[in-house]
Symmetry: C2
Subunit: 87 residues, 2 copies
């Protein structure tokens, strides 16, 4: 069993409306010491696979096809083996 | 300077429509080896603060007021000191 942790966020070139909205809210709440803010999506998947490589390849395909809009978003992930019991 | 990494996701008692939609899409794509899927929001903040404790307290307040809907969502975060240069 493998566990994948996937992070998806807008490419640097894309203006993130959610981040802008939160920055505005922070300013309104007089919170002025937040220098930078990044907003993204986070996924955890548990999957069975024949090998670490097979698990990574599948996670990459799932990111590409389902979890990220690759025109505007970028993704990164980690894949680690976990015990069946822990699963 | 401190960096906070914040994870927000639905409480276990709340049905997550996004997760359900992705599970359906996985099934349609004949991807049947994904045993479990969790969907959440991920934030990275950089903030100045007088101390680690002060930074943690502020991040907690920001989560509570802005980043999570505490009726339906739960959040966790890590806060670590970072060099000014790295910032």
């Amino acid at each position: 069993m493998y566990q994948a942790k996937v992070y998806v966020n807008y490419k640097d070139s894309v203006l993130d409306p959610k981040a802008e909205a939160i920055k505005t809210a922070l300013t309104r709440a007089s919170i002025n010491n937040v220098q930078d803010l990044m907003v993204g999506k986070y996924f955890e998947l548990r999957l069975t696979a024949d090998s670490q490589l097979a698990a990574e390849q599948q996670v990459d395909a799932i990111c590409d096809q389902l979890l990220a809009n690759i025109n505007m978003e970028q993704y990164r992930y980690t894949v680690s083996a976990i015990d069946e019991v822990q699963a």
